[in-house]
């Protein structure tokens, strides 16, 4: 839990800094995949592995997963319909038979209509979502963060001892 909270604080810190744009955008994109995937599936573990071993912002990934889980939940009826139409497509049947009998692939639970529907939506959205998140982060920093740092209240806060201690701590252990 501490790790999780730390990562979430780190997300807000990084969001308000001037670096780590790609880390944040990729974290949010991974969160999208996590949100649209069932928890006990191999793709979830694969994404968690990527998030854990590569420099993808974990807090962003978890927050996005939490958010997109709700979206996916609302989207389930549509995902079910979409998944059925994909899984019942005669042209894809030989492929699915092959995949179903391959090692590891059935662990994705692709043969479930909701999982398949959500997976299709997730895979279609993940690349555009990465670029969209990047754009939004940049815009956020240019508008909201810059405006906040220009306020007297922030300038006054930046001169306090607490802020200088926090900055020092962050340089040493952040």
């Amino acid at each position: 839990m501490t790790l999780l909270l730390k990562q979430i604080f780190s997300f807000f810190q990084l969001l308000n800094s001037e670096t780590g744009t790609n880390q944040l955008a990729s974290g949010l994109a991974c969160g999208l995949i996590l949100g649209f995937s069932p928890f006990l599936s191999i793709q979830t573990f694969l994404i968690l592995f990527l998030v854990f071993f590569f420099r993808i912002q974990m807090g962003a990934a978890f927050l996005a997963a939490f958010f997109f889980k709700f979206i996916a939940y609302l989207f389930d009826p549509l995902a079910d319909q979409l998944g059925r139409s994909v899984l019942e497509a005669p042209a894809l049947r030989p492929l699915f038979v092959q995949m179903y009998n391959m090692p590891l692939v059935p662990l994705t639970r692709f043969n479930n209509s909701i999982v398949m529907g959500s997976m299709v939506v997730g895979l279609i959205l993940v690349i555009p979502a990465f670029f969209l998140f990047r754009l939004l982060i940049v815009k956020y920093r240019e508008t909201v963060v810059a405006r906040l740092k220009g306020t007297r209240l922030w300038k006054a806060f930046a001169t306090t001892k607490f802020y200088s201690w926090y900055t020092k701590y962050n340089e040493l252990y952040g």
């Binding site: 670096t19 854990f52 071993f53 590569f54 420099r55 939940y73 389930d76 009826p77 995902a79 079910d80 998944g83 059925r84 899984l87 019942e88 049947r93 699915f96 038979v97 995949m99 179903y100 009998n101 391959m102 090692p103 590891l104 692939v105 059935p106 662990l107 639970r109 043969n111 479930n112 209509s113 909701i114 999982v115 529907g117 340089e171």
Partner: protein
């Protein structure tokens, strides 16, 4: 000189090395734990959990797991007998469990083997086992469940007693023991349909006799015939002086003939009517015979004179013996009703056309639909290739040498193309049971599922089994060696078939009957019985089934009993027949006599009158002929004379 904050920090690569190393360390620790400590900890954990569960020490000699091979092996499980801590209540030699990673990586469960071997009971422990202190005793007095169970038991016993008190042998005994038919006959006097009809017939006959006497009076009597005769004698039949005289005679004769014809016709129609009436009366007498037979049959039924039927006798004899098995069949039938899919049950019970209820549908988002893209020779979702169990007869009196095996339990038989086959074989030397074989085959590889089963028991002892326990007769199978074979199948979960063949050799019976006569008959019959077989045949569409039982015991017993019973039945029948005949015999005799006398009397009178009329008719006819001849000769003579006169006159005129 200070550098900007960002430039001070070293640029970080895309991989989090600071996370990788702790993760690897964590994995290494997990590996070390599972490699060196997990088996030991699991063994101790199971021993502790077993002790808590059964309240006695549980020991496991060895436990090995392998993650890479996906196997589990437990050896030497000993569970202490809480009552005798120096003994084990059960000892299991080996438990093996092996799965396939190849299938697991395909999200399928394939169990290569699940084996429990060398089960032994009541084996001696090396050291006495620890026993948990006893729990506080429950409050005295039976609980609600016990009370309810006792109540149900009493109800079942009462029902069984009621059912078997009226069995067939009881009835036979009552007849053989001399249920007095004569005593009953007195009570039913006046209720016989034949007697009633005979009385009606007698009264009817008297009425008819009067009517006929009246009618006979209207027939031509002797004086009428005499008058006709006199009238005939008066008719002139010769020496006619003129044709007018001849004409008058002929007319009179014609009138007499017509009168005689009228009399004749009257007699003829009366004779016909009489004949018709007499035939009707005779038919009524025959009808009376049929009524007598019907009365005898009704009386036989009333006195419950049984006709011995081998099948009924067998059913009566084995009703109690088979009761427990029938209860089991009913139990499984109820289970089948519970578990057979409703669409099949509705077909069987004829409720297929009923309005379908709308079931609760889970929201699609909860589960979705999982498709199975199987192909031949691929892994099904679940496949237990082999499960085995074996035990050895130890010191326990109830233990046996058993070997059981289940092959190919799977979620999709069509994919592997093999049916599930379960077999259990063995024997129980202490109980003198040998040659036990149970085999069950569940085949869903074809469009219609087929379940076949077979139960064989080579030899088993049978002691103290009550066959009949009625107030009149008690028959018990005290000792016998049985041999059992049951085979059957269940097709498409509804078409049920079962054949049972049960043999008893060296059977000894305890037979007692209230009546001495039947007691000796039954004792002699049962003492000379050869090998007894009991054959059963059950079939039908579930849940309705028919169950037939046949046995040579029935036929053998039938042979012994038939002679005595038939004699008794014949005696009872004779009594009834004699009674019925006696009751209507007098009426019947009177009726027959009356009919006969009426026929004789009327026939005589009519025939006599007919004879007289015939004679008179002939006389009239001869007289008519005579008159005609006479008239003809007179006419000829006259014509000759007239011709002679005319010739003479002509000669004179011609001068010849």
């Amino acid at each position: 000189m200070t550098k900007p904050h960002d430039s001070q920090k070293k640029a970080k690569g895309p991989i989090r090395w600071n996370a990788v190393i702790p993760f690897l360390v964590f994995c290494a620790l997990i590996y070390v734990y599972f490699h060196f400590f997990f088996d030991h900890n699991l063994r101790k954990g199971l021993e502790w959990a077993g002790y808590k569960a059964v309240g006695a020490e549980v020991n496991i000699a060895d436990l090995r797991t392998s993650f890479l091979k996906a196997t589990l092996q437990i050896k030497g499980i000993e569970i202490t007998d809480a009552d005798k801590p120096a003994q084990n209540i059960i000892e299991i030699g080996d438990i093996r469990w092996g799965m396939s990673w190849d299938a697991l990586l395909r999200a399928k469960i394939l169990i290569n083997e699940a084996v429990i071997e060398n089960i032994q009971f009541a084996t001696i422990r090396k050291h006495p086992g620890k026993v948990a202190p006893p729990e506080l005793p429950p409050k005295p007095g039976p609980g609600v469940l016990e009370k309810e169970a006792e109540k149900l038991k009493e109800e079942a016993l009462a029902k069984a007693q009621e059912e078997y008190a009226n069995n067939m042998l009881g009835d036979l005994a009552a007849i053989l023991g001399g249920a007095n038919a004569q005593a009953q006959l007195g009570k039913i006097e006046g209720t016989l349909a034949s007697k009633k009809r005979a009385q009606e017939l007698e009264a009817d006959l008297k009425t008819k006799q009067k009517q006929w006497e009246e009618r006979l009076k209207t027939l031509p009597q002797g004086k009428d015939l005499q008058a006709l005769n006199e009238r005939l004698n008066k008719v002139k039949i010769k020496d006619f002086k003129s044709p007018q005289e001849l004409q008058a005679s002929l007319q009179e004769l014609d009138a007499i003939a017509k009168q005689a014809d009228a009399y004749y016709k009257q007699l003829g129609s009366t004779g016909k009517d009489l004949d018709k009436e007499l035939k009707g009366l005779e038919a009524s007498v025959r009808e009376l015979d049929a009524l007598v037979k019907s009365d005898i049959k009704a009386l036989e039924t009333r006195f419950r004179i049984p006709s011995i039927n081998t099948q009924d006798l067998t059913r009566a004899l084995f009703n109690k013996y088979l009761g427990k098995y029938r209860a089991k069949i009913n139990h499984y039938r109820a289970m089948a009703e519970k578990y057979i899919p409703p669409k099949y049950m509705d077909k069987v019970t004829g409720k297929a056309d009923k309005e379908e209820e709308i079931p609760l549908q889970p929201h699609p988002r909860e589960r979705g639909v999982s498709y199975e893209f199987g192909r031949r020779n691929s892994y099904p979702l679940f496949w237990l290739k082999r499960a085995a169990i074996s035990s050895q007869a130890g010191m326990s009196p109830k233990a046996g040498n058993i070997r059981g095996e289940i092959l190919d339990i799977t979620s999709h038989q069509a994919l592997i193309g093999r049916p599930t086959v379960a077999t259990l074989s063995g024997d129980f030397p202490a109980d003198q049971i040998s040659g036990v074989l149970l085999k069950l085959v569940l085949d869903n590889t074809k469009p219609e599922s087929l379940i076949t089963y077979k139960v064989d028991v080579g030899a088993y002892p049978l002691r103290g089994s009550d066959l009949v326990d009625s107030p009149d007769v008690k028959i018990a199978l005290t000792e016998a060696v049985g041999k059992l074979n049951i085979e059957g199948q269940l097709k498409a979960l509804r078409e049920f078939q079962m054949k049972l063949n049960n043999q008893f050799t060296t059977a000894h019976f305890a037979v007692t009957a209230k009546d001495g006569n039947i007691d000796s008959i039954l004792k002699n019959t049962f003492a000379n019985l050869p090998v007894i077989n009991l054959k059963g045949d059950a079939s039908g569409y579930l849940p309705s089934m028919s169950f037939n039982v046949t046995s040579n015991l029935g036929s053998e017993l039938e042979k012994g009993l038939r002679k005595q019973v038939e004699a008794k039945i014949a005696e009872a029948q004779k009594q009834i027949e004699a009674y019925v005949n006696k009751e209507i015999g007098k009426n019947r005799e009177a009726i027959e006599k009356q009919v006969q006398s009426l026929r004789t009397q009327l026939d005589g009178e009519v025939k006599k009158a007919q004879a007289q009329l015939d004679a008179q008719k002939k006389q009239v006819e001869s007289k008519v002929d005579q008159a005609k001849k006479d008239a003809e000769s007179q006419a000829k003579k006259k014509l000759n004379e007239e011709g002679k006169k005319a010739a003479d006159a002509l000669k004179k005129r011609l001068g010849l």
